[in-house]
């Protein structure tokens, strides 16, 4: 289920001018019921921490990273931001930015359209040179080189005050293009005055500091170190660690202390930098990692991972092993999208929703330690969450009511449908559980498990795909619902002749789009939240999606890890800020 947490990056052509577009994989959680968990042992300096990762890294370039785990890990070790989230089990604290490279959390004017930050004195790169305002500006400019810097979040493209060209993209094309480039507009949109950087946006961005703290797109970048696409796995640090040797995306890399890092310029709530060395070990399967952490011998005593314990291991997590495991709610919600191009009858969509056996899906996927029930596509930890009334129904599905709805609408049964999902042995069983009640309610569902996870999202973005029900997963980019429903269901930036964008079900609703525009133009968070909540209710009425569950992380660690914390600041992955080893 790796790619649950990873969304494919849609074609850049799908960009539109004035809305939040193309969010990628989730990054940060937010405030809410599940604050996270921490071990009691006090962290101690020194030692080597091992971090087990299963899949190869896609990027370590700050403007291209989009995985929640990597965003958090890089922030705690090598990439400092203007503002960052402090490590805290209090979810409100963990999603309230504190100054990092900037002296304050930013000042805004013109109703959230202009934001300024002043950079601290004495902050340095790993080669000892000071971090300047120009470095920040250069970092932001790289986002506009959409043909080179791919994979990362590109909210800047739609927000930053740069005119839109005929291709629907900003007229500024990034630092690599020399001809026909609107550099003047970019220089006006981001200005440097001494060590003060000012961003000018087209529309209000009231939660801009949240976006800065959640994503690394606004990170500084040294122009003389930039080699475009070749820098994908380069890490030029301004944090407490630096890379020893090179980053091998398939095997991992080792971090050692950065001699030019001055802890006095930093906040221990963001990073304590306790271990002398951090080793990323990539390539073991989830089962191997779990086996090793259960065995807890040698360096595995000082190891952590982002892989959840597979359900088949749950019976082994008892006694002392259980004390080394945490079970927390993740910021990710899995949901089903209904294909509006094929399922035009609202009664069919409604009946399908009513007959959906969420509980069966959850139980087949490992039960209460693997998932929590969801009643909205917005994670409860995200501001703007409210239970969606459309999904108040028996958690095991109501077959009788679904039958009634179909009969009332005069639909001829069985209705033939195809359900597309990412196939794993577990997911196959989960899909079979859904099929069971759907078929009883009057559908005839064919399961279409796609085995190739690397192309899953590309597949479901095809406008002519033959699927009726599509599985997908999403986490908010920063703790606001505007990074959930807007990028997923606003047809304007998503739907193109050659792609669905993230609107996999080709959902188009003027009423919904209007509410999103309202939210985007709101100058304060309260108005924005209200509009977004209305928008979610609209989605529920149309059954644009069916929420399945909230993923839970069940993470194991070695016995000599101290200061272990999985919190909202680290998307509920192990937070490397306060961590240490004995």
């Amino acid at each position: 289920m790796a790619s649950n947490r990873k969304k494919a990056f849609a074609a850049v052509a799908a960009l539109a001018s004035a809305s939040v577009v193309l969010a990628g994989c989730g990054s940060s959680g937010g405030s809410g019921s599940n604050g996270g968990s921490s071990s009691t042992a006090k962290a101690s300096k020194g030692g080597t921490l091992t971090y087990y990762i299963r899949d190869a890294l896609e990027h370590t370039d700050p403007q291209r990273v989009y995985l929640g785990r990597d965003l958090s890990n890089l922030n705690r070790t090598v990439y400092r931001r203007l503002v960052s989230f402090p490590a805290s089990t209090d979810p409100t604290k963990a999603t309230t930015p504190v100054p990092d490279l900037a002296t304050t959390t930013g000042t805004s004017s013109q109703g959230g359209k202009v934001w300024s930050f002043t950079i601290k004195n004495g902050v340095k790169w790993q080669d000892g040179k000071p971090i300047t305002c120009e470095d920040f500006k250069y970092g932001a400019s790289r986002v506009f080189a959409t043909d080179v810097i791919t994979g990362g979040p590109n909210y800047l493209l739609s927000y930053l005050n740069i005119p839109t060209g005929k291709d629907g993209l900003p007229t500024y094309k990034g630092p690599y293009q020399k001809k026909n480039n609107d550099v003047a507009s970019f220089n006006k949109a981001i200005t440097c005055k001494g060590q003060t950087i000012t961003y000018h946006f087209k529309q209000p961005w009231p939660d801009f500091p949240l976006a800065v703290a959640s994503l690394s797109m606004m990170d500084p970048y040294r122009k003389d170190k930039d080699q475009g696409d070749k820098s994908n796995y380069q890490i030029f640090s301004d944090g407490p660690y630096e890379v020893q040797g090179k980053v091998d995306p398939d095997k991992g890399y080792t971090l050692v202390r950065n001699p030019n890092y001055d802890p006095k310029t930093d906040n221990p709530a963001i990073r304590e930098a306790n271990p002398d060395k951090i080793v990323y070990n990539i390539g073991k399967t989830g089962e191997q990692i779990t086996d090793q952490l259960i065995a807890d011998s040698g360096t595995d005593q000082m190891a952590v991972t982002d892989r959840s314990i597979p359900p088949s291991y749950y019976t082994q997590i008892v006694g002392d092993v259980a004390k080394r495991a945490v079970n927390v709610q993740s910021p990710f919600v899995d949901y089903l999208v209904l294909n509006f191009a094929r399922m035009k009858n609202p009664a069919i969509r409604q009946a399908l929703n009513v007959a959906t056996d969420d509980q069966g899906w959850i139980d087949a996927g490992g039960g209460s330690k693997a998932y929590d029930p969801a009643d909205s596509i917005v994670n409860p930890t995200v501001k703007g969450y409210q239970p969606n009334p459309a999904f108040k129904r028996p958690s095991s599905g109501d077959v009788a009511q679904a039958k009634q709805i179909l009969a009332k609408a005069g639909v001829k049964t069985p209705v033939n449908l195809t359900f597309t999902y990412e196939s794993t042995p577990t997911a196959d069983k989960q899909a079979a559980a859904l099929k069971n009640t759907w078929d009883k309610a009057g559908f005839n569902v064919t399961l279409d498990g796609v085995a190739n996870s690397s192309t899953y999202y590309t597949n479901i973005q095809q406008p002519d795909q033959k699927s009726d029900i599509i599985w997908a997963g999403w986490g908010a980019d920063w703790p606001s619902a505007i990074t959930v429903t807007a990028p997923l269901f606003d047809s304007r930036p998503n739907l193109r002749s050659n792609t669905n964008g993230q609107d996999y079900g080709r959902y188009q609703s003027n009423a919904f789009n209007k509410l999103i525009t309202q939210a985007q133009n709101a100058s304060n968070l309260a108005d924005q939240t209200k509009a977004l909540q209305k928008a979610d209710i609209q989605l529920g009425k149309d059954v644009a999606y069916i929420p399945l569950e909230i993923q839970k992380f069940y993470l194991l660690r070695g016995s000599k890890v101290t200061g272990y914390m999985t919190d909202a600041a680290s998307s509920m992955y192990p937070d490397l800020g306060p961590i240490g080893v004995q």
Partner: protein, 340 residues
């Protein structure tokens, strides 16, 4: 002359001491026995092969009955029984692997589908795929083997080199690498919406069959090399029989023994190949059960509890072993001179 113990049967004596055969035959009732009868008699005496034969027969009858039993609802491989599972423990069965009167082999973790039903129905699909793949490879192998063995010169050389080429192909790798495009291709050709089990099944059968024929072709070629020198072939030629007639009317009837033996030896290979392919993810789509699918499902849980793995593995092992023993028995029975 060897000494014969009093307890030996007449046939054993006959085989042990050919010099005595005359005497023995003279004292017994003289009855003409065809080679088939002789082979059957030899086979019946081989207890191990008979056991294997009975087991294979049970599997085959079970496989034929399963779809009927599913239709009438005696076995139910699809309905989940999640009430028997414990969601707090990763949805493994609550008590004793879910074994009860209704679920004699328990229920599977996750969904709680009946294990016996899934295995039983799985045998049908597994045997069907193995049988189809075996037939494909047998037909191709036999035809090319006969042509290659009978023709001399360039045709023989070409076919023999083709055999070498096919044998040197990394077929498992091909199967995996080509699976996505191959299955998509069959999904387009075959009726249905592309998500059914059919395209995967056809792909699996064809690839297994198309890579499996060279061994058969070599075996048949060897047999044909001796048959073609026999008088009746010369006679057919002199009478002006066409090549087709000589291949299929004159030579083929003399090859049924090696074909039958090879058949029983290739079947188990494909049964285990199906299981392996399911594990690698190119087998038939779930929820359709095959022995391979059920085994793959159980593997993850076998770490915690070996029981889940036990029956699927056992059933595959038994059927593969039985087919192999049956094949060995048949070979001994049909070719008494052959070395064991």
């Amino acid at each position: 002359m060897s000494f014969v113990s009093p307890g030996s049967t007449r046939e054993e004596q006959a085989e042990l001491s050919p010099e005595r055969e005359l005497v023995v035959d003279a004292s017994a009732k003289v009855a003409g026995r065809s080679p088939t009868q002789l082979a059957l008699a030899r086979f019946r005496r081989d207890k191990l092969s008979m056991v294997a034969f009975v087991i294979v027969a049970i599997y085959v009858i079970g496989a034929i009955l399963a779809p009927i039993l599913v239709k009438v609802g005696v076995i139910d491989p699809y309905t989940p029984h999640q009430n028997l599972l414990d969601p707090a423990l990763g949805s493994i069965p609550k008590h004793n692997w879910g074994i009860s009167w209704h679920h004699p082999l328990g229920v599977e973790p996750g969904l709680g589908r009946d294990v016996l039903s899934r295995l039983w129905y799985g045998i049908t699909f597994s045997l069907l795929i193995a049988l189809a793949a075996t037939i494909v490879s047998m037909v191709i192998g036999t035809v090319l083997g006969i042509i290659s063995g009978f023709s001399r010169g360039i045709v023989d050389t070409l076919i023999s080199r083709l055999v070498d080429l096919t044998l040197s192909f990394p077929q498992t790798l091909m199967l995996l690498a080509l699976s996505a495009t191959g299955v998509a291709m069959f999904a387009k050709i075959l009726p249905g919406n592309g998500a059914s089990a059919a395209p995967n099944a056809v792909y699996e059968i064809l690839v297994l069959g198309l890579f499996g024929w060279p061994a058969m072709a070599r075996l048949i070629r060897g047999q044909v090399l001796t048959i073609r020198e026999r008088e009746f072939i010369d006679a057919a030629r002199v009478l002006g029989a066409s090549h087709g007639r000589i291949y299929f009317k004159e030579i083929l009837p003399n090859l049924w023994a090696p074909v039958l033996v090879q058949f029983t030896l290739v079947m188990p290979l494909y049964i285990s190949a199906e299981a392996a392919l399911s594990y690698l993810g190119v087998g038939i789509h779930p929820p359709t059960p095959t022995l391979g699918n059920v085994l793959t499902d159980s593997i993850n849980y076998s770490i915690g509890d070996f029981f889940f793995f036990l029956f699927p593995a056992l059933l595959i092992a038994i059927v593969v072993l039985s087919f192999n023993l049956l094949g060995d028995g048949l070979r001994d029975a049909l070719d008494p001179k052959g070395e064991r």
